[in-house]
């Protein structure tokens, strides 16, 4: 299994490629800049497409280097399942590099935003105009996932990697046949449905 690298190490490498963060914008400035840019740029397809809630933003390109950082066997298998689903779309996801999706797992406990949360994705580095995500942090919370069956863990892997392709959550109202891993909640459904695939293909 790949060795663990500090996320900051990866992040710094990615940020070195991005001109805006190197300017040293304050958060208030960055937020206001995004506001200003939103006035002159068209709406990002990431937020206009399938499920605005829980949408971490669309990736900067179709090549997705997935970096597994000392994962448990269960999380590792779940990530492999997620990658197999990404590759049913226009995305080209591989394990042969790093810098797009850094995957970690740990017993994060139940406090704060980890309450009842088995996995999550956070965009840690945006492209210069803040229109796409260049670097995602993906985390499995073993506090919950360790008690899952492999199929249930696979659903989390599919779900979280779906977020890294720009997908938001599905609900009972938007997934009436209940066959998408993008529904939130404990499930053994570990695949994208055609709607998910179409959404990824149309926004990437």
């Amino acid at each position: 299994m790949p060795m663990t690298r500090s996320f900051d190490e990866v992040n710094q490498t990615a940020r070195a490629l991005l001109p805006l963060p190197s300017v040293g914008l304050s958060t208030a400035a960055a937020t206001a800049l995004m506001l200003a840019l939103s006035m002159i740029l068209p709406a990002s397809p990431a937020f206009a497409g399938h499920g605005a809630q829980a949408n971490s933003g669309t990736p900067d390109d179709r090549n997705h280097y997935i970096d597994r950082n000392s994962l448990t066997a269960k999380s590792d298998s779940a990530t492999v399942q997620g990658v197999s689903q990404l590759n049913r779309t226009v995305m080209n996801a591989t394990f042969s590099g790093s810098g797009d999706v850094e995957v970690y797992d740990d017993y994060y406990g139940t406090g704060g935003d980890w309450q009842s949360v088995s996995g999550k994705v956070t965009c840690m580095g945006y492209t210069p105009l803040y229109t796409h995500c260049d670097l995602y942090l993906m985390q499995y919370n073993l506090t919950y996932v360790a008690g899952y069956s492999q199929s249930q863990a696979d659903q989390v892997g599919c779900h979280e990697l779906g977020h890294t392709a720009g997908l938001g959550h599905r609900t009972s109202a938007t997934d009436t046949d209940n066959n998408s891993c993008m529904r939130s909640g404990l499930s053994t459904w570990r695949y994208f449905d055609q709607h998910d695939i179409d959404a990824v293909n149309s926004t990437n």
Binding site: L25, T27, A28, A36, G112, G119, A146
Partner: protein, 232 residues
């Protein structure tokens, strides 16, 4: 269109300039407002009704935020090197609507997680703007556990739907099917009616708690050791 471009360009230039000067000051103060969103993750349990939410919560309180504190920084043990500083609300408990914690004494204050700071940026949960001192509302809470499932002194919302703030005649809460069932626009009165009904359903047993399996490693610090799990 030209004016729009000019205004946007001027605004962008202004904030870039102000941002550089702010960073140049070397201030270590954590920001008062969030600039990043914590997107809703895949949930280990979901709720169908506010009654289930109340039945699952360890305590449901009405209270006022009287202070915001920095929690102890937490460095993830996953190898990422990421450190977060919890943002804790000090909640003055005005009324305990429901409690499953046992005992006769009601808490007078509670510390409640509300986002965090990381690398000098503020993070707020999706649909939950940071609460501020003076905010009054109802909170559906559960007690936090650390990686070894030890109970901590802090509390968190059992779900993002578990917070309603009453401000200027409005009832503010995260977008959720649980609140959509109350109506397209929740008023303070309709929120109070819905909360009272949920608490009654939980107390009477009509609404059941939604349990979840939580685990810790059998060998402390070794995530590859066999997990030891309990229902909560």
């Amino acid at each position: 269109m030209t004016n729009r471009w000019l205004f946007a360009a001027a605004l962008a230039a202004l904030v870039i300039a102000s941002g550089c000067s702010l960073n140049g000051s070397g201030s270590d103060a954590l920001p008062d407002g969030p600039s990043q969103i914590i997107h809703e993750g895949d949930r280990a349990r979901t709720f169908d009704t506010l009654g289930q939410l109340a039945a699952t919560a360890k305590i449901v309180v009405r209270g006022e935020v009287i202070d915001v504190r920095e929690g102890n920084p937490i460095t993830f043990a996953d190898g990422s090197g990421i450190t977060v500083t919890p943002r804790l609300l000090l909640l003055d408990v005005q009324q305990v609507l429901m409690s499953r914690s046992g005992g006769n004494q009601s808490p007078t204050t509670l510390e409640v997680n509300d986002g965090y700071w990381q690398s000098g940026e503020g993070y707020a949960r999706e649909g939950l703007p940071w609460a501020q001192p003076g905010d009054v509302g109802v909170f559906f809470l559960t007690q936090d556990r650390d990686r070894d499932l030890n109970l901590l002194p802090t509390y968190s919302l059992v779900d993002t739907a578990g917070r309603v703030l009453f401000e200027n005649g409005h009832a503010e809460h995260a977008t959720s099917p649980l609140w959509a069932a109350v109506g397209s626009s929740t008023t303070p009165d309709s929120a109070r009616v819905a909360i009272d009904r949920a608490v009654q359903d939980a107390r009477s047993g009509r609404a059941k708690p939604v349990t979840v399996t939580i685990c810790r490693p059998s060998v402390r610090g070794d995530e590859n050791s066999e997990p030891v799990c309990i229902e909560e």
